[in-house]
Symmetry: D2
Subunit: 136 residues, 4 copies
């Protein structure tokens, strides 16, 4: 896929840095490529649900940001990206030491971008997202 | 709807207290009724996305917990509830001072429970969720 | 909700008549109001899945059209409406004699409209949809 | 993936033949492999929405059946498969001469199976589904 943003990685990193919630979670941008973004998250005991696994909302958060930034890499200069909606399926308990949300763009349009993201613990698929992003 | 759990509110409150992520977000259980749970969340500057609104993942988190506990109120004694999947639509920027995720059960089955949740800022519908919970 | 289309019902009925698939299913427009559309469908033995209930895709079809036309009633003159995405939860076997897909708009924006639809068999909630429509 | 059903293809074909709605649409089983099923559908003028493209519900129908049967190939003898829920994103107008819904299992559990399906027109991704199936 062809990035329309020059310096797309710098644009993504600058926006990510403004997402204070990513810092609150301890999430970091692991990879930025045209149409593809990975976000890394170490396990932390203050991010869990009642059984001690990462809360589904934490997985949704990193998958959603990864989708948004994967979309942003393909948008024109000056774009802002917002989530329209996403769906997340939980596939395995999120009890590993670290997680990677790996997003990629399925279709990049003028207004809407459709993305998918897998949340992985090593080779294990912990959750998967299908979502829609909008350019503003 | 008829709660099958005796002391359903105590059961929900005990489980919610084990969700450390809810405390990390500053979310509290505002109401527990049979098939209906509300979770309150004040705005905080460390929970935002790049434009200063609450991150969609924060909204997903409180809506998901509200759905899970709404489902749990109708499950038999000793049940654990897990999210199978959820979909969240974002409807308005989450920039208010406080938010309420209001969940209710649409259908409670032996294994699966289908729930919906609205995230409200006062009268404004900020986000809406449709999700599936499973009893374990 | 305020219809922006004059003659919104005529516009919806004219577009519905061009959806040949609705005729193929035997579906009819039962009600058109600002932000709300109902589509009726009698059971037919050639619309079923392997157990003799209406196929989930049939329920999705009438719920999706109902959502699209509920959205269209609130769009400006000359708009075309397309589905961006939808999610459908199946809640009960669709084995009744007739069904009603009842859609309403949750939020009508300049570009996107978010809708929900229930598919009912009498009082029974058979399926529920949450979807996003776009104006073209 | 390991099929638990002996004669899994025969089981799928027998069940598919009972889905009268597939015949009504003109859909056929194009491929049955462990955890993967393809369904083919030629364009037909009586399956369209208001602009002459295949109705989103038609795409949902073949994607849903493909997901269900992909799930069934990995279930034990005597299983019945039902859709719990699915989400479909529409990516391109469905105006080609023929379509293929290509489903694969992401995770096969004792009760629930999570599947994804792409609806393709040649190389073009027309729609994509993420859904949950249940064994009965």
């Amino acid at each position: 896929m062809e990035p329309r943003l020059q310096h797309f990685e710098a644009v993504v990193r600058e926006s990510f840095a403004r997402q204070t919630f990513m810092a609150t979670l301890g999430a970091t941008l692991a990879r930025v490529a045209p149409g593809e973004v990975d976000i890394a998250l170490p396990f932390r005991a203050d991010l869990v649900q009642q059984n001690g696994a990462l809360h589904a909302g934490v997985l949704a958060s990193i998958a959603d940001s990864a989708c948004g930034y994967a979309a942003l890499t393909l948008m024109p200069e000056g774009s802002n990206v917002l989530s329209v909606e996403f769906k997340l399926n939980l596939l395995a308990p999120a009890t590993a030491a670290s997680f990677l949300a790996r997003a990629r763009v399925l279709r990049s349009g003028g207004t809407l971008t459709v993305c998918t993201a897998d949340v992985l613990a090593g080779e294990t698929l912990v959750a998967t997202m299908l979502g829609t992003m909008i350019r503003r």
